[in-house]
Amino acid sequence: MRLFHAARARLRLLFARRAAEARMDEEFRFHLDMEADRLARAEGLAPAEARRRAVVAFGLAERHRDAMRDGRGLAWLGGLSLDLKLGFRMLVKYPGLTIVGGLAMAFAICVGAVVFETVRLFLAPALPLPQGDRIVHLRNWDVEANRKEPRALHDLQVWRQAMRSVTDLGAWQDVTRNLVGRDGEARPLRIAAITASGFRVAATPPLLGRAVVPADERADAPPVVVLGHEVWRLRFAGDSGVVGRTIQLGDAYATVVGVMPSGFAFPVTHDAWMPLRPEAPDAAPRAGPAVTMFGRLAPGATLDDARAELAVLGRRAAREQPATHRHLQPQVMPYAQMFGGAKSAAETGLVVVLTQVFTLMLLVLVCGNVALLLFARAATRESEIVVRSALGASRRRIVLQLFAEALVLGGVAAAAGLGAAHLVLRHWGLGFVKANFADVPFWFDPRLSPATALYAGVLTVLGAAIAGGLPGRKVTRDIGTGLRSGTSGGGARFGGVWTAVIVAQVAVTVAFPGIVMVEAREQQRVRSYDVGFAADEYLAVRLDLEAPPSASPAAHRARFATLVETLRQRVAAEPGVVGVTFADRLPRTNYDDHAVALDEAAPAASSSASRFTKVALVDPSYFGVLGAPILAGRGFRAADAAGDARVVVVDQGFVDRVLQGRNPIGRRVRLGEGGVAPDGPGADSLPWLEIVGLVRDLGMIGAAETTRGIGLYRPAAPGDGFAPQMVIHTQGEPMALVPRVRALAAAVDPTLRVVEPQRLDGVADDLLWMMGMWLRTTLTMTGIALLLSLSGIYAVLTYTVARRTREIGVRVALGAPRRTVVAAIFRRPLTQVGLGIAGGAALIAVGAHVLARTYQFQHWPRGFSLGQVALLVGYAAGMLGVCLLACVVPTRRALRVQPMTAMRVE
């Protein structure tokens, strides 16, 4: 309480300066009036005389005023603003320190801000919708199978009627339909079949027309669709007359009733919306289509209320419908946590703390270095500090001054760091998320938030406390000594900690290129991988067909196969198309691994033979269209795709790794399937497959994998036997053919979808992008570490030389050769850099050893090649040279010391 009173009084006096002055004047006036009245009454004085006596008794008003102003702490405030001003002057006066220290602090703050923002994005995502924090996701969790139970139409109805804490309960279902434009081109559209309540929950009015309304949900209502802004802009040229028009969606038609505003993609990342019309609205429990449920917390209700209410409903359902609901546990959570996120605030806190520990360590390391620089600077200003101290400045005052200087530096660095963080988040943040997750929900928007800026501010103050406070304390600790011994000699010294920091940094700087080398080598490997054919001449698109709910799977597959065949003929007839073929996967993507068994009585003696192979299903024309010659035996024939021809073609990797070089032709193999091992119990149910041909390696290995590709091809009919990727060999730019393929597909059947068009050489682009990002990050970190080590060495040396001016002068005066003087100066930095390089080399050796034991890198050549060793040695020598370069300026300064000047210093 006392602290509270005191703080309030101080703050009021400090900040309401004008009010405090007015209060003081009023109190003085009141006092004089009262006293004059008293004197006039008690002693019968004339008013003027009474006034005069009162003023005399009061004493000098101006002196009391000054005493009160001093007491208000304005003097302290004036001091701080002076310190800040001085800090800015220091920035300009020592540009080298400003650039190095500022850059390093900016880097630490940038990393801290990006990490914080990313963590925030994942753990505490916020919906950019009105009152988005009150939107919830509901689901049934099957505790027995440990997965969600999405067939929830029945429960949706029950909950809708029973729940009071959640309003506007609704659900949506993902639907993908081809939108056939006026140009005849069909593009798949991601549509949400959603209850009308979805638009009430999202609370976003449409840009044009109307949203989905409850009347649309009736089974006999005319089909309607609401378009997203992007679709409206790109496919309908932003035509405001689109409302009321009928458009073709797959093989059905729907009337456009509205257009949503830009950025609206509720429920996840949808392009358009249709009313949710389940075939049977009164679905039986745990039956019907898979839907996702949502709702909005009722006014005044909390998430805990909803949890409690839902728990009661869950228990009742388990009691009344044990057959279906015994193991179902209803759950409700903030909507944005549907795709993960922390379960509780405690978990969020824990992850934030864990990630911030890394940031703080980086900040401490970086600011420790900046502290070193500031310390060296403060040490050269020691006489100034000693004089100030002698003039009565308290130790706290001097430390505060150094803190203010660091704060100014940190402030500039924070501005730069936040700017960089903004760029990183805008340019790479979304790319990073997209490269790692298939669907990026609309609320995933990496950008600088006010919370992050605030966090950066805290980091800055903390950094300034380290960078300014530490040297301040160290410098002021020895002021007494400084006062006694004059302006030089004695005083602070660099301790073992600083030496250790510098050595560790040099070690890291040396070791980082090892990491860069590994990363660059991986990138180079992925980029230059020889896929065995001219991948840049091929276009790949995935084909898909909407399954009508009524059709049997077999009939659907047969129809798909017919459509695929028709499309193949039409595409093949296009000018510029050399050939068309199909496969279930594209080269360099992730194929399925299958166990393989050979028909030999005695299996391969060597245990190093692989027992696994990747398997691809291909159209018989596959090798022909890819231009891959058959090295032995024969390729596939059209008849092989029929299904009962049990023939396969293997690649060179299969021969080398599974057969260990033996002739494959005529040999029989079995593939493990559906959990049945090819050489275990039940293997007799698996067919024997005869190897009829051999091809070269054609990328039967994921781009990220480093092992040798091992591949086996089985013939199958596209559409019927597998979901096909259509591979088109073109003359000229493959991507130019995409619109034509879409149009042809729409003409064949409006429900035939053409998705993910890409050039075959672009399969690894996402991976390369990620690798590039990591490489850049590592390079930046290496650069910062290098810069910090150099500046640290420079600072220590400058400081040492400044300290030893007299000693050097005496040595030179006594005729010591320059070489001896230089050696004496260089001994320390040389030792540090030498130790650092040795430490770095050890780190690389350990790292390489560990790496070679991991699965990913097990096939890398052991140890380093001669060239790589030479490269690393060269780099180490370069490091040494650059470090010594940092010593040149201070050394020259030392050698210029004139004996007379040095003596006069005393």
Binding site: M1, R2, L3, F4, H5, A6, A7, A9, R10, L13, R23, M24, E26, E27, F28, F30, H31, D33, M34, E35, R38, A57, F58, G59, L60, A61, R63, H64, A67, M68, G71, R72
Partner: protein, 111 residues
């Protein structure tokens, strides 16, 4: 109590007198000055104005609080009152003053 040097006895006794005065009832500056002068019977000859820096100091230390009020004659005045911390400090200060005075008394008696 606010930190002060031991030699600053006058200032210290002024603080003590102000606290003592306010322990009876909340009062404005002039009233405090009158009261102090009455109690000390004019023995403490200080400028009345030096009361105000002392009051500000005590307020910053959280020992007294102040607010605007009106006097009997309907004039606006700043009224000071003792906080709980001020009451505790007064007790401690009175105690130490008594010890000091008793010690001094003992010394004077022996001589």
């Amino acid at each position: 109590m606010p930190t002060r040097s031991p030699s600053d006895a006058l200032r210290g006794s002024l603080d003590l007198l102000v606290l003592k005065t306010l322990s009876l009832q909340p009062m404005h500056g002039w009233g405090i000055a009158q009261r102090v002068q009455q109690i000390s019977d004019g023995a403490l000859e200080v400028n009345q104005g030096s009361l105000y820096p002392a009051l500000q100091r005590l307020e910053q230390a959280g020992l007294v609080a102040s607010e605007w009020g009106t006097t009997d004659h309907n004039r606006r005045a700043r009224y000071y009152s003792l906080t709980a911390a001020g009451r505790r400090a007064l007790g401690a200060e009175v105690e130490s003053w008594r010890r000091f005075a008793a010690g001094l008394e003992a010394v004077l008696r022996t001589s």
